[in-house]
């Protein structure tokens, strides 16, 4: 435990301040010696600050010192709220994928039940559960649909959700997250631009009780800032799609799936690839000419892993995931630039982190985490190919295709489109065939193509 000796693992309290009335400051903060203060303006988050706590209180003056830093994001959000056209509120499907985390899910569901009371559809995908506890929990919520998915893998579970959903907009959150009251409408209002295929939101920590949680929030986190951003393939390199958000907090426009395809089922937690199903999906969205908007007014609270071992596994999974989905992008999408990008990222990020951690340079990350990420990155490409192999075995066990292609009420028929895989053909790798939702007048599209 050498690597942890010089770290200050002081628990912090997460508390909120409304800019409209923070009058006397914060009180009753218990024994905590510092706090992560989340500032809200008109209900939406506009910034955060790490603030020391004295005798269980934070004085208003200390909070006030942080105000200038909030000016820009506050302003941007006011301007953005002003620009929004007043149209009928959209209804959406909300999909939560869960696997053996019933206790977390029990904290997640009440917030979603409130959404279903507003007319939204809520679906829980129970991914390869080892017992029936989740099914029993969801049974307590008659308005929430429960779907059992026997095959493990986040990509599989999310696709199951996409196909089960009946609304045009499909929002995703995770079982270890809790959604804020304005979360869904904030995501949905960004779809007024027909090119916006995906909207992601901001994710803040639910609690910072252990060193693992604090380390994750300070070093990794899900924070993408407090200003709305719009991404497309001309403003961001699609291979850096991780910058636009994560699947814990996002919404997808259903009609674009016919151009983008579904999630790659060989990626994500629950597969050998560990993670990356969301980032690979963003990558395809961007390369297909669509936009992804990051809107920080859509807030989700996430409970980071409490145990250090779980954090290390997560970090390992991130390392695997990046190189796994890059492998897919190289094989299936002929992204030749990866021959340059992947080694240089490995060199500049992973190797350097590892070196700094080994030398205990100031600001370096703990050695075991650096090592985990490094090992993950090395394992990535192989893990992806293994994951595809496993997926083939799974699909031979479960007759998924006939089940997947069933037509749901009021929804277009699903068809499979074979993508031409140039590199893959050469290497004789079996690569994902994105399922494609066929609904637009393709006959005309074909005609236009012929001419």
């Amino acid at each position: 435990m050498m690597w942890r000796s010089n770290q200050t693992a002081v628990p912090a309290i997460v508390c909120e301040v409304n800019l409209e009335h923070f009058g006397q400051g914060l009180t009753n903060l218990g024994d905590y010696s510092r706090a992560l203060v989340v500032f809200r303006l008109r209900g939406t988050v506009v910034g955060q600050a790490w603030v020391p706590v004295r005798d269980g209180t934070i004085a208003a003056d200390i909070l006030r010192q942080h105000l200038p830093a909030l000016a820009w994001s506050s302003w941007q959000q006011i301007m953005h709220a002003k620009r929004q056209p007043t149209s009928d509120p959209l209804v959406a499907s909300v999909v939560v994928c869960t696997r053996d985390r019933t206790e977390d899910l029990s904290r997640c569901l009440p917030g979603l039940q409130r959404l279903s009371a507003l007319g939204h559809e809520v679906i829980v995908i129970d991914s390869c559960p080892s017992d029936s506890r989740t099914a029993e929990l969801v049974a307590n919520y008659p308005s929430i649909r429960y779907i059992h998915e026997p095959r493990p893998g986040a990509g599989i579970a999310r696709n199951r959700g996409l196909l089960a959903a009946t609304k045009e907009f499909i929002a995703f959150t995770d079982d270890d997250a809790q959604v804020d009251a304005e979360w869904l409408p904030s995501l949905l209002r960004n779809f007024d631009d027909p090119l916006v295929a995906i909207v992601t939101g901001i994710t803040m920590p639910l609690e910072l009780e252990t060193y693992a949680q604090i380390w994750f929030e300070e070093n990794h986190g899900f924070g993408r800032g407090f200003v709305r951003k719009s991404f497309d393939a001309t403003t961001i390199e699609p291979l850096a799609a991780g910058l636009v958000g994560a699947s814990v907090n996002m919404a997808v426009r259903r009609s674009v799936l016919q151009h983008i395809g579904l999630f790659d089922e060989a990626l994500g937690p629950g597969t050998p690839a560990g993670s990356g199903e969301d980032h690979e999906f963003y990558f395809r969205t961007l390369t297909r000419g669509y936009r992804i908007v990051y809107d920080p007014t859509a807030l989700v609270w996430h409970r980071h892993r409490r145990e250090w071992d779980a954090l290390r596994r997560t970090i390992y999974g991130y390392g695997v995931g990046v190189f796994a989905w890059w492998t897919r992008a190289f094989l299936a999408e002929s992204e030749w630039t990866l021959l340059k990008i992947a080694p240089s990222w490995f060199w500049q990020h992973h190797l350097r982190n590892l070196k700094n951690a080994a030398l205990r340079r100031p600001g370096s990350i703990p050695l075991d985490l650096a090592l985990a990420e490094f090992r993950g990155a090395l394992a990535g490409p192989g893990a992806y190919l293994r994951s595809r192999q496993r997926l083939r075995e799974l699909s031979s066990l479960v007759p998924i295709k006939s089940e997947r292609l069933s037509v749901r009420q009021g929804l277009p028929t699903l068809a499979i489109e074979q993508t031409k895989l140039s590199v893959a053909e050469v290497l004789e790798v079996d690569l994902p065939t994105p399922r494609v939702v066929d609904q637009l007048p393709t006959s005309i599209a074909d005609i236009a193509e012929e001419q």
């Binding site: 302003w75 301007m79 090119l195 393939a233 000419g289 630039t337 005309i444 074909d446 193509e449």
Partner: protein, 421 residues
């Protein structure tokens, strides 16, 4: 079929039989009464069996379908030919590759008012495997339409797209229709200039949806850009006041790469064309290797080259362009002549109208208690300045600059609601 139709839909077409038939069948399923509109298909130099198919189809359509043919190889002449035979009180110009949605005709008719030009939403549709250029083009179209949908958008002749637009027949005839001397491109922009001069009010109606199955690609687009260079000179010849707007201040050198490209376009066309072909090949290679940034750079260069090559073809040398620019009206008047509005001392409603009408041609400065916060350059190609245009501009600016927006809010609160709405 004896009664006079309300709307005449004019569809120019050139060797696109299959798409045209889709287009006509979409018009058969309109929510607007089929007896109240007629369709004129104007076939220009068609070498396929368009004519035979349209004639055969005419007996099946619920609306009156007429076929006109000529060999002019000109979109302007083709649309004018259709208009000269049209009998409706409203002309609706529709491109053969724009597939009308069921409410299309009804929305166009209901949006009409006096001297209105109703611009519809041609939603760009992609083919199965679009190229990068097609993705870019879709983004451009969608963004352009979204900007036009903004209540404070100031329309200019560059918003006049002839693929999905309707206006009163009398208005079209009053401005003498399309200019037949435009054989290449931009005959629609030129008509837009004359319509705005004639006092037409442009309005964008997003509900008039046609799916636009455009099959343009990079090489063809570059040829069009070259034709646009030629056409911009033509527009400048007919409307000298637009020269400065289109060709900018030539004395001010742009960045050196663009300046070099422009020089090559004027002085070394043979070298330029050779380089252009090479660069087009490199662009294709970049797309295959997924080198996005490099591809964008090359595209910018190719666009610049082809545009100025077109200009050079139309006007000759750089010095000829400069002297031609001198003949036009001097671009901008000295700054003390420009009308100003001080937000802290807002003018009365009638004064505001007068200032705005001057600002239409001279530009406008917005002040906050004597401090300038925004300048609107004169835009002779746009519609007369109205109050909502200012709101829109300030709001756009405000996104990235605090002060003007605070000023606007301050002024509004100080003056009550006299300025807002």
């Amino acid at each position: 079929m004896s009664q006079t139709p309300v709307v005449s839909i004019i569809i120019p077409t050139h060797n696109r039989r299959q798409l045209l038939m889709q287009n006509l069948s979409a018009l058969s399923g309109q929510t607007y009464a089929a007896t109240d509109f007629e369709v004129l298909v104007v076939a220009d130099s068609c070498a396929d069996d368009t004519a035979a198919f349209v004639r055969a189809y005419a007996s099946q359509t619920p609306f009156r379908l007429r076929l006109l043919q000529h060999s002019a190889k000109s979109a302007a002449a083709t649309r004018n030919l259709g208009a000269s035979h049209a009998e409706g009180a409203i002309f609706l110009f529709l491109d053969d590759d724009v597939i009308a949605q069921p409410d299309f005709v009804r929305v166009h008719v209901e949006a009409q008012f006096e001297d209105s030009v109703v611009l519809g939403y041609s939603k760009p549709m992609l083919s199965r495997r679009p190229s990068w250029w097609q993705y870019d083009a879709r983004r451009w179209w969608e963004d352009t339409f979204r900007e036009m949908a903004n209540p404070g958008h100031r329309f200019s002749y560059r918003n006049f797209f002839s693929g999905n637009v309707s206006m009163a027949a009398s208005l079209f005839q009053r401005v003498n229709g399309f200019d037949m001397s435009f054989t290449g491109r931009l005959e629609d922009y030129e008509l837009g200039v004359r319509l705005l001069k004639a006092g037409a009010r442009f309005c964008y109606v997003p509900a008039a949806i046609g799916y636009h199955y455009d099959n343009t690609d990079l090489a063809r687009w570059l040829r069009r850009i070259r034709q646009e260079g030629v056409a911009d000179v033509q527009i400048g010849q007919r409307h000298p006041e637009l020269r400065a707007l289109m060709f900018g201040d030539l004395s001010e050198p742009p960045e050196w790469t663009l300046a070099t490209i422009r020089r090559i376009a004027f002085a070394f066309p043979a070298l330029g064309d050779m380089l252009e072909r090479r660069m087009l090949g490199v662009a294709t290679l970049c797309e295959q290797l997924k080198l996005r940034y490099r591809w964008q750079q090359i595209l910018r260069a190719l666009r610049e080259y082809n545009y100025w090559r077109g200009v050079a073809t139309a006007i000759g040398t750089r010095s000829a362009l400069s002297s031609w620019m001198q003949e036009g009206p001097v671009p901008s008047a000295p700054s003390n002549n420009v009308p100003t509005i001080d937000m802290v001392r807002l003018p009365s409603a009638t004064n505001l109208q007068e200032i705005l009408s001057h600002g239409t041609n001279l530009g406008l400065r917005l002040l906050l208690d004597g401090v300038e916060i925004m300048t609107l350059a004169p835009d002779p190609g746009a519609e007369p300045l109205r109050e909502e245009h200012l709101h829109h501009k300030v709001q756009q600016l405000a996104q990235y600059q605090f002060v003007p927006a605070l000023a606007l809010n301050l002024a509004r609160s100080m003056q009550g609601n006299s300025y807002a709405d």
